[in-house]
Symmetry: none
Subunit: 210 residues, 4 copies
Amino acid sequence: MTEAKAPDSSRRSERSRRAIYDAALALVGETGYSRTTIEGIASRAGVGKQTIYRWWPSKAAVLMEAFLDLAAQAAEAAGGGPGDTSEYAIPDTGDLRSDLRLVLRATVDEMNSPVYDAPARALAAEGVIDAELGAQFVEKLLEPQLRLYADRLRAAEAAGQVRAGLDPRIALELFVGPLTHRWLLRTLPLTHAYADTIVDYAVDGLAPRG
Amino acid sequence: MTEAKAPDSSRRSERSRRAIYDAALALVGETGYSRTTIEGIASRAGVGKQTIYRWWPSKAAVLMEAFLDLAAQAAEAAGGGPGDTSEYAIPDTGDLRSDLRLVLRATVDEMNSPVYDAPARALAAEGVIDAELGAQFVEKLLEPQLRLYADRLRAAEAAGQVRAGLDPRIALELFVGPLTHRWLLRTLPLTHAYADTIVDYAVDGLAPRG
Amino acid sequence: MTEAKAPDSSRRSERSRRAIYDAALALVGETGYSRTTIEGIASRAGVGKQTIYRWWPSKAAVLMEAFLDLAAQAAEAAGGGPGDTSEYAIPDTGDLRSDLRLVLRATVDEMNSPVYDAPARALAAEGVIDAELGAQFVEKLLEPQLRLYADRLRAAEAAGQVRAGLDPRIALELFVGPLTHRWLLRTLPLTHAYADTIVDYAVDGLAPRG
Amino acid sequence: MTEAKAPDSSRRSERSRRAIYDAALALVGETGYSRTTIEGIASRAGVGKQTIYRWWPSKAAVLMEAFLDLAAQAAEAAGGGPGDTSEYAIPDTGDLRSDLRLVLRATVDEMNSPVYDAPARALAAEGVIDAELGAQFVEKLLEPQLRLYADRLRAAEAAGQVRAGLDPRIALELFVGPLTHRWLLRTLPLTHAYADTIVDYAVDGLAPRG
DNA sequence: CGATAAACGAGACGGTACGTCCCGTCTTTGC
DNA sequence: GCAAAGACGGGACGTACCGTCTCGTTTATCG
């Protein structure tokens, strides 16, 4: 038994989708997540409410897709083109410490950028409470990035830059955990210097045993 | 310059306050934060809505106080009595690694306990979006704990268990960052084994340089 | 210059309108006007509150329309059909006294009928305080009736049954004034005998001068 | 078994009573009856709410007493002194028509005076809906006046100015009914000319037959 | 003349209803 | 023939007052 009312996605209006993404991101940025309403998005996008309810199950889902689209667009603009993901791998110059510094500094910059901060924060918060949405957030946004860390750490292990037998899924959290902590909880400022220090402490912790 | 309409807190009904705390925590635990309403709390507590609005500015503020009260009660029950905070200091047996394991395992247990998880998660999420509430969350709930880590790390530095010149406010994030990350984002299970591994990696990273 | 947010009345739900009329009249009859609430009407009508606020500015306005509808329905049932107002003219048998007795007795019966009394009284009272509503009450409910009196009195003047030069807009108040006085203020019982006496005194007062 | 909590009226604060009267009349005049609240009266009078609830059962009762007090004060100022009611009798110059013109013109003036209009209208309206209050309104405010009309009409009957056997309780309504009608329902302006015409028509109606 | 009890101001309390904002569904209409 | 427009039943918001109930503080007899 299939879905009773599965909409025909081939007939979907691209123009409406774009307008909805733009409106959602703008409203979240301007007025905050909780004051952003589906009616508000529809109105700003010049779209009927039903057009939103037809394609997304919730406000959070709209924002999730809008943010993924934003990220994809940014990546396309930065990288070689659509679908090319090789560019995002963490560089491997042989110097683990400086490679990670580069990546963590970039992450800090992103977290400090208002364009990314507002929607990402809203999604993260919503995911903290709504486990299903949280799973999507992790899978679609976080996991791809974490995999890059794991890959780089495995390469480092092979090159003897970190101790053998190390669990890369845990090790990477020494880097992303502290940054995420400061970002979400705003305990202290998120700076390049902070990122560098985290890298220093963590890489030492993962170093081969003498 | 005082508030124009500050209610007289000496006339405040203790019975109502307790009932509101209980109702708020119960509802958040049972139905989740977003489905918890001020009307629902008032109704369950057998209290007029105005009694809530008179003393708290928002649903989040109610839950914050309720949770602080819960934590205070738990502390009082566990410790030697009210106001006695010495009990919460991280032990200093001379073995930093095992001292931290103990604390991080306890933290993992707390994060896995439904009684703490639901309200704490709700507050953390709300604080992620609302900076003012986030500041309160950090100041009243997180900061006291972080200070304990900083103290223990300073003692460790003095004892030569970690490298000299280390910044304790950053170093402690090697421990709490990863745990918080897994707790809030639910990337992978939060276990004692995980806590132990984090301690291992991080303590190595902070070890005196050879 | 049109209203900024005028709802589209062509999309209006006839079913809801009817249900609201019925609920409003029933509640006013059962519990009285001041204990009748918009929430109560909405609930009894199985309707959202907003559906009431969308189409009426106040409780009194709802009741006014409900009562007008009731009167229109009653008229339609009694008379030859919708829009036929000729039936309501005061009869002209040549005997002014008996013609007016007939009408005033019918008015007394109406004022004593619970179905009409409760809402009419509520509207009259509200109109006494709220001038705008009062104007509507007069224009839509009272004025049509007063015109019939004025017409009959003009015919009587032409037939020499009352003195020439008499002001019909004042003369009619000799009849409706006393009845309304007793109805609204409940000074003494409203009976057919009372109506007859009023007609006697008043017709004598308007009689041609000897 | 006596009343459980009858307050001791000998200890009653005269100052509070006066302040409450003033506040009630002022608020009804300024903002209208329905927007006048007991809290508002208490606040404006510098009085606790309980002081009002202790002595009056309802907002309408407060206003009733306040208005009676106002009328008593006005009477005292106008007449020879407190308790002297003889002054209010309708004059008997032997000319019924001109005696009544005098009184009805004075009544018209009162109805057109804002100071009397607002509270009297509010009380009348409330009395239209609340039968108990209406009875008080009639008994304390209206009835004394109506008795004066009845007395004058009886004197007129004795003097052969009106037909014998006339019912004064009905006859007086030919005068007060029309005036009250125009006052409460605002159908047409209330003027001296109107009062004169009513007197003319009505006195003719009551004239001796023959 | 000082004790004492009631009335007083103040206002917190459990409630009800207000009028508004959105929710998610359903219906109509205009392009 | 789709999608914008938006009316609908519903739920919660935050506010205003209701009438009741303490709180200290006058106040004003009586013991």
